[in-house]
């Protein structure tokens, strides 16, 4: 089912923030909104999902306008995964996922056999079936995001909207989650619209990318066309040095300079599991093939530290620095 956004104007309390957003997604395609914190990505996603009244324009799923659908009808076509994290108690993961069956169950919400099978299928797909009986409040952030993804899928949507699904995750989980997402989009022919802060994952999974910055949206298109040096510098207000540093083409020496990171500078990271700066740009990046970790080169020559063997955590910082020194000498 094709998904279309037509001249959407979004904003709060009648004051337009971003005007005239238009984009069309075919079945199974992934659209990523990239941009710094507070750039309006969430506002766009909320408006598309019907949680925020759009100030102009319309959203269509397979030719039907979202604004004209009843809440139940919309829930059967669109699922969302937002960053809103309310503390839930005494609810196991199976219950959380089964919440996605809400639009399909009767007045008391009792699950039928088909609903149970559906819950199991989506949980297996997101590899969280073994967590079914565990308390949702007591699993790791990575597991939690995957459970929430299973919940969204359980809704059997045609369109899934995810607001920064990777923001609580460390490198391993970012990779795994986005991989699952891509697989799902293809297998189930679901349109996926998500927002990401990091450029590299966006490059990897998207069919379409849109840059969002403050009051404007620019550069809608394929990732390799949109995520150019000029656009990225414009998006993050960086100079050549910053870009070179982030993407490994010379430039700044300091690697604590990613001011867009929510835990900048790195050593202020509140908890170890939130510490993901090394994924944004590994300090060993400049060393090319001698960095000592696992990596691949993407089509455009950008190094991709996926599955890096180098433990990406704070305790390992000295070792990372040491290795950086070795490499530089060699």
């Amino acid at each position: 089912m094709r998904f279309r956004v037509d001249k959407l104007t979004v904003g709060y309390d009648g004051a337009p923030l971003i005007r005239d957003i238009s984009v069309t997604l075919e079945e199974g395609q992934i659209l990523t909104l990239v941009g710094p914190n507070g750039s309006g990505k969430s506002t766009i996603l909320k408006s598309i999902a019907g949680q925020l009244e759009p100030l102009g324009g319309a959203v269509f799923i397979g030719g039907e306008e979202v604004g004209a659908m009843g809440p139940g009808e919309l829930a059967r076509k669109m699922a969302v995964m937002f960053t809103d994290r309310r503390q839930v108690e005494l609810v196991d993961c199976f219950d959380v996922v089964s919440m996605g069956r809400h639009p399909y169950t009767g007045a008391l919400g009792i699950l039928g056999d088909h609903d149970r099978a559906m819950v199991r299928e989506t949980m297996e797909m997101c590899s969280v079936w073994d967590l079914a009986g565990r308390d949702f409040a007591k699993i790791s952030d990575g597991q939690r995001q995957r459970v929430l993804l299973a919940r969204a899928l359980c809704q059997e949507p045609r369109v899934i909207i995810l607001d920064e699904p990777t923001s609580f995750l460390d490198a391993r989980y970012v990779h795994a989650l986005l991989d699952t997402l891509k697989k799902l989009a293809r297998q189930r022919c679901v349109c996926v619209i998500l927002s990401l802060q990091q450029i590299e994952p966006a490059r990897k999974i998207s069919d379409l990318v849109m840059c969002v910055k403050g009051s404007c949206v620019f550069g809608l298109g394929k990732p390799q066309e949109v995520l150019t040096k000029e656009n990225i510098c414009r998006l993050y207000d960086m100079d050549e040095g910053g870009y070179g540093f982030m993407f490994g083409r010379g430039g700044s020496k300091s690697f604590f300079s990613n001011k867009e990171c929510q835990y900048f500078p790195c050593h202020k990271a509140p908890r170890e599991e939130d510490f993901n700066c090394l994924f944004c740009f590994c300090p060993l990046y400049h060393l090319g093939a001698t960095c000592g970790g696992d990596f691949t080169y993407l089509g455009n020559g950008v190094k991709n530290c996926e599955g890096c063997a180098f433990p990406h955590h704070r305790g390992n910082y000295e070792a990372v620095l040491g290795r950086l020194g070795d490499g530089a000498e060699a």
Partner: protein
């Protein structure tokens, strides 16, 4: 999952045993032997039923508000409803006294109910404009302060002897319930409880957060109005017939959740009602018999029994997280 099923049956079994035991004790225990049919039938039985029905109503009202406001300490009284009742009772009582007449108990029930519903109406108006449920708590508490200040103001000018009934009423007790009262409160409570049970599906979705509830097709605004209206109606019923009874509404939902280790509204709602019934039957038994012939106020007993329970559960919860 098996563990949960076991807990469900164990809890149900324990509740059945407690209900039967307390019902029997409530009817049979006391200075008059069970042989005196008149006392049993005209005094103890309606009182037993009143404590059971109103206890259930309180517990359910508390559960609705707690899950809606996402606040573990929310109870039926944070919304200022009992204060509204008290104000209305005080107002009517003083007016009637001016006319030189005494106030009938039926008039007091009516006044309390009207007062509670007036506050409920106000809260409902606020709830339409409230940006988030937390604002509603603040509104409720403020309305409560306003009403109790107004009550103090009224009683300051009243004749002390005339308003002694007001003081008695405002301490909360199940005594002196007639069969007529029992039928009325049963009808009100049953209606509201069935409606609340029908809300268990959207309430379950709401536990995951407001945005999720919206995204699976719950009309959050309507849910908000329904919850506030139902819990207020339940609370108003209790306040009208028994005066303000505290702690049951806060304690019962926590007890049930920790017994069942489950927060699914479809299970918690009936069990919560049941737990409130047992809780109030037990407290009323203590109130009536512990220092017989002197009778305690049910509200004091519920606080004495309920407060430690709430404290214990809150501390345990902190350890878990």
């Amino acid at each position: 999952m098996e563990n949960r099923r076991f807990r469900l049956f164990a809890t149900a079994g324990a509740f059945i045993a407690l209900t039967v035991a307390l019902a029997w004790l409530n009817v049979a225990l006391g200075s008059v032997r069970a042989a005196d049919a008149d006392i049993i039938f005209k005094i103890r039985l309606p009182r037993l039923l009143a404590s059971a029905i109103l206890g259930g109503a309180l517990a359910l009202s508390g559960f609705l508000l707690q899950s809606f406001l996402g606040n573990p300490i929310a109870g039926p009284f944070v919304l200022g409803i009992s204060h509204g009742s008290k104000l209305a009772v005080a107002f009517v009582m003083i007016c009637v006294l001016r006319q030189g007449a005494a106030m009938s108990s039926q008039a007091m029930v009516g006044a309390a109910f009207l007062g509670a519903m007036a506050v409920t109406g106000m809260i409902l108006l606020f709830s339409r404009g409230a940006p988030h449920p937390g604002a509603l708590i603040v509104c409720g508490v403020m309305v409560g302060y306003l009403c109790s200040a107004a009550t103090d103001f009224l009683t300051a000018f009243a004749d002390e002897a005339g308003i002694v009934n007001l003081h008695n009423w405002s301490r909360g007790s199940f005594s002196g319930t007639s069969w007529d009262n029992v039928w009325q409160m049963a009808a009100l409570t049953a209606g509201a409880s069935i409606c609340a049970f029908m809300l268990s599906k959207p309430l379950a979705a709401y536990q995951m957060g407001e945005q999720y509830a919206k995204s699976v097709g719950v009309d959050v605004l309507r849910l908000r109005v329904c919850i506030v209206a139902l819990s207020s109606l339940l609370c108003a019923t209790v306040t009208a017939y028994a005066g303000p009874i505290s702690f049951v509404g806060i304690a019962a939902p926590h007890i049930v959740k920790s017994l069942l280790k489950n927060a699914k509204p479809i299970l918690v709602i009936p069990f919560c009602f049941w737990c409130g019934m047992i809780f109030c039957m037990g407290c009323d038994l203590i109130a009536r018999t512990a220092f017989a012939p002197t009778e305690l106020y049910a509200s004091s007993v519920t606080a004495i029994v309920g407060a430690p329970v709430v404290i214990k559960i809150m501390l345990e919860r902190k350890g878990r997280r």
